[in-house]
Subunit: 417 residues, 2 copies
């Protein structure tokens, strides 16, 4: 069973709107085990919409469209599909009543042009829309299906969950449980290093499949197993996961929804250790990532974004002498910041970073992307020198990952209870 | 002159990745006056990529692809296009040297599989990539052009700006000025309030067109004018922009690439005022936004993410009495935090927030989303109570917008020199 996604809307072609619908539907289809080989975006033009849907129906069993169900003149998808299947449009008084009620609840009279939203291709099935005026439509003919959904994501998503998923599950007779995915999250080595270590597995992959996905500062290894039962899928997956974890050790930090910050948080909680952070070049981003984790107030005491030298001196007690002799971007200052914030917060562990995030401020000796990351825990004191590349926000993000990963490695390997 | 966008990558078909590249390129093509009627997404499969590019070339003059230029086995786009045009692949020693230098700068040896990134279709033009190892490619044959770009947005975007836009402008002989866009950025009222205020303009819009785009904590109003000359477009746009600004006053904070933080930064620089921030529930996010702006070290002195009560007492000198009597989430604590961080940093202005970001920690009296935001500047001292809705990150983001907007209004209206 295969499907295609067709997104309609001139606002997508002009780049005014980001197409989040295609991603959402693609993710759901994959979870259902429905194959999807193409996504197409087309403007509000009847001929072109018709060609795209026809072309998609030639390749796939199911076509899912978003957009073009509104009350305006350039909302055309329903009419195009009716035409394609040779079906007349029929007025549905029950839907008309719902649309009128929708406006009434908002204290408004239904505009005349909303009437057309109650017209459906003959013999089609309506998809209820509780948050808007446009019902969706399922049109079946021979072995082919077209599912029409509205464009606004907050209307489309609940309709997909409530009606489309059960419809597809029944249609495909696929037990959604048979497609099992698991994402291993890797921090440290780049995509090509990981590919080299997994080369033979990637070459012979069939079930489970393996996909590598590079993010700004981490790589995701996604395993997807097809099986008749959950137990079987888990067994298939477990063996491969163990092999990959061993080959990538110690760089797999977590799975699925875990983030590097949530893993560090769980380890801090387990070890009953408290953390403080001092940031110069990252300017609060490390603290932001740590505090994105619910419950982080249990272990995170203090973050100081000491941007000015005066703040480094007055808040973190970095020696004016240190700053003058070595500069704000130096291993000495990074270490003094980490010691300072640990003392100030009374934490067990502290990390500090100072560097040049750019785009200005770099010199030959201290170029943009140069970062010193200091780490203090127990009697341990160390400073790491990083040379990072990318724009300002990328350098902030890569620095943050390096710091969180140092914390993770320490908490996993050295602070084992 | 027309173009099509082809995005390749199985991660897009599986919904693992949001396709921001298609939007970015679509927006740029529209700005250049290049028509674009279709966008297609296809997986890492040579046959299907070939069919999609061939189909696109039958409809359009220019096809722009993203993805598939990496070093791995499933990076296929370049090879597919060479095949389609009947061109052999050639090794370019100068590009190989650049790729080797890229790894050398990072203190690493180039993996063997990166070599293939230096292979280009015969007679094609390379697009330099300063932030990654994959050069882009422009392949011309007869009247048709294929432009291949890498998938990572931070590599693709500068390549598009630096090489593709000048290429397209020369190629199309179109004055890019004929399609003129401008985005007004609005903070405060929601999308439907804005729609109501602009209803008549939205109804009769033709040239310029008006599009509303709701973000988490702001709304973008995008105007696009078509005209023969820049002057004519600017005149068309200017009139409508003035009308909209008046209707939405004082909520339009900036235009185009400006962010709320960059506008606040420019105002602080102009007024020669220094800023400090104390954060509890936002945990560093306000400081992160402020320091995303290049040059923010000129006016941002200090951010304190005082997550623990002990940090509020020891770092910001909030009275233990205040915390005990009113609690950490209270107007009294917010104000004490703002006073404390201003004193500590020696800044002119300070803001502080304390609240409950959730999902846990809420009570009937102090529910999730309750935030107190304090603001001190000169003799002015005030605390605002906010009740926000959404998940943890959304509440952090909305709080950050409220604080930055308060700073903007103060700097615009009250701190006028």
């Amino acid at each position: 069973m295969s499907a295609e996604i067709v997104s309609t809307g001139t606002e997508l072609l002009l780049g005014h709107t980001l197409n989040t619908n295609a991603q959402y539907i693609a993710e759901r289809l994959a979870a259902l085990g429905v194959y999807c080989y193409y996504q197409t975006t087309v403007g509000d033009n009847a001929d072109r919409i018709g060609q795209v849907i026809e072309n998609a129906l030639n390749r796939a069993d199911i076509v899912i469209t978003t957009g073009g169900l509104g009350p305006t003149m350039d909302d055309l998808t329903k009419e195009v599909v009716a035409d394609l299947f040779g079906l007349p449009m029929e007025m549905h008084p029950d839907h008309l009543a719902k649309i009128e009620a929708f406006f009434q609840r908002r204290g408004r009279k239904m505009p005349e042009n909303n009437k057309k939203q109650a017209m459906l291709p003959a013999g089609s099935q309506a998809i209820p829309n509780h948050l808007g005026t446009a019902p969706g439509v399922i049109v079946e003919q021979d072995d082919k299906v077209v599912i029409l959904l509205p464009g606004p994501p907050f209307e489309m998503r609940p309709m997909f969950e409530e009606t489309v998923i059960p419809y597809l599950a029944a249609k495909t007779k696929i037990n959604p449980g048979v497609l099992h995915s698991r994402t291993l999250k890797v921090v440290g080595p780049g995509e090509s290093v990981i590919e080299n270590r997994l080369r033979d597995l990637l070459t012979v992959q069939s079930n489970p499949t393996i996909a590598l996905l590079a993010k700004t500062a981490e790589v995701h290894v996604r395993l997807t197993a097809r099986a008749r039962t959950e137990t079987e899928a888990a067994a298939l997956m477990g063996e491969l996961e163990a092999e990959i974890r061993q080959r990538l050790h110690p760089y797999v930090y977590g799975v699925d929804e875990e983030s590097l910050a949530s893993v560090v948080g769980a380890l801090l909680n387990e070890r009953n250790l408290k953390l403080a952070i001092a940031e110069s070049c990252t300017g609060g981003y490390i603290a932001h990532q740590i505090t994105n984790v619910p419950g982080s107030s249990d272990y995170f005491l203090l973050g100081v974004a000491s941007y000015a030298n005066s703040a480094k001196e007055n808040v973190l007690a970095v020696d004016e002498e240190t700053l003058r002799t070595y500069g704000a971007v130096s291993p000495e200052t990074a270490l003094a910041m980490a010691r300072g914030v640990r003392r100030l917060a009374g934490s067990d562990i502290a990390a500090a970073v100072t560097g040049i995030a750019g785009p200005g401020g770099g010199t030959e000796e201290k170029p943009v992307g140069l970062v010193y990351a200091a780490f203090v825990a127990g009697d341990k004191e160390e400073v790491e020198k990083l040379q990072l590349f990318g724009d300002r926000v990328t350098i902030k993000e890569k620095t943050t990952y390096a710091v969180l990963n140092r914390l993770r490695v320490y908490l996993t390997e050295e602070a084992r209870p």
